[in-house]
Symmetry: none
DNA sequence: GTGGTCTAGACCACA
DNA sequence: GTGGTCTAGACCACC
């Protein structure tokens, strides 16, 4: 079963942490298209948070197209993961990469150190269990 | 003169955008150790934001050790940029890299696309005006 | 034979989609007064949905006077389609038209674009006696 | 000042009714780009609903790009109203028009009656810059 | 059983 | 002052 790790002290909203971790599971293939997510009440009980918090996380992911919410049935990983247009993708990647680069510099990390961290993170998504096609 | 670009549509708090951009200037060497930052009132006027917003940004950066705030004198880029211990650095880099990797995947970006974005961001920091030795 | 097209991704309840499509068949004449509708069990099997969902759809349509449900016999298109008094009709049309108009505006559609869409939909009801599955 | 009309008995969620009416005001020009919306608390008090209900309505409209929410400042009509690509627009218009056409038929309304209703609704959006309370 | 909406009220973050 | 998040608990709609 899935495992979630919430930290209330980071300032990052709980529902956002949840979204990030579900996104991670989907990106890594640990959650494959069509897989059912835990029910709202079940997950709320397991994580000791209010059900409405889960509702918000699931709702946002539903809006994003990452998961598919079916009233009365449950929530499922979407069959077609959304693909952004190349232009918007590049734009967004630039922002994220710049943030990483600046913060790495600020910490005194070298360029290879930063690049290796990213290589590791990508490998971790590729490496594991389920058929995530190595997209180039 | 420094130039700041605030965007109110992103949802990112103004004080955070300010911090990011100052950090960027410091990381790229455009702001060198000892350089003075604009005064709070001056910057607030120029950016048409509430002075308390600048206060908050400067305060946080001071807390991080990126800048020195000298009461009655102004704010200056810190002489010694903080260097994190390798272990914490690696930990933090992993978090950032994982976020970038997951979001890249989610957008349908390939691994090289993500790595190139980071290379570009690092190069941009190296490239500019002031001599920051390209630490490999 | 009638053809129904259910889409679970729209957020529109299944029973509502069913009602809409049956209404469409009746309005277009593909289903004429007195025609029998598929049995609940048969339709539930064909569409792979829960029989109670069909029950709900048929029940609501029966309540509206669109179909007649005869216990032990089945469901049939009502002989006399209900005709609303002109005043209530106008009122209801205004609501629907306003919704269409506002949403059209919001999408950036021109007035002729909206009117043409409605003309097309009306023509489609007039034109065919045989089912092309409505996508609404 | 704006006027909102909520009806709890329709089955349409309150936050959706609010969204529809705000959309109506924006589409008609009664709310122009840059205009401030009522604050969440103020509107909640005026409509006697829970603030979180307003939060949800505003949040969704923010996601849609209809309004612009600025933390600590308030909510404002977006400067650039989103324009859908023509293909998606046509698709969506077809669905809405089909619903209107079918329901008009069902009520016993003639084609001109339906078209006139739409013309009226469009004219109402064009004509006035002053609020005529939306009936949706 | 499932998800969706709403309330009352607390506390935090932003400008 | 503004909006954002979370809780506890109720009730409804869907399948």
């Amino acid at each position: 079963m899935l495992h979630f790790q919430l930290n209330v002290h980071t300032g990052v909203p709980v529902y956002r942490q949840l979204m990030d971790q579900i996104r991670h599971y989907v990106a890594s293939g640990a959650l494959a298209a069509g897989d059912a997510l835990p029910s709202i009440r079940e997950l709320a009980r397991a994580l000791a948070v209010n059900p409405t918090t889960i509702v918000k996380a699931y709702g946002e992911l539903g809006h994003e197209g990452v998961i598919d919410i079916r009233h009365g049935r449950g929530a499922f990983v979407a069959e077609l993961q959304p693909v952004w247009p190349a232009a918007r993708r590049r734009e967004r990647l630039q922002v994220l990469a710049s943030q990483l680069a600046v913060e790495a510099r600020q910490m005194g990390a070298s360029d290879p150190e930063a690049l290796d961290a990213l290589r590791g993170a990508l490998a971790e998504l590729n490496g594991s269990n389920h058929p995530t096609p190595p997209n180039s």
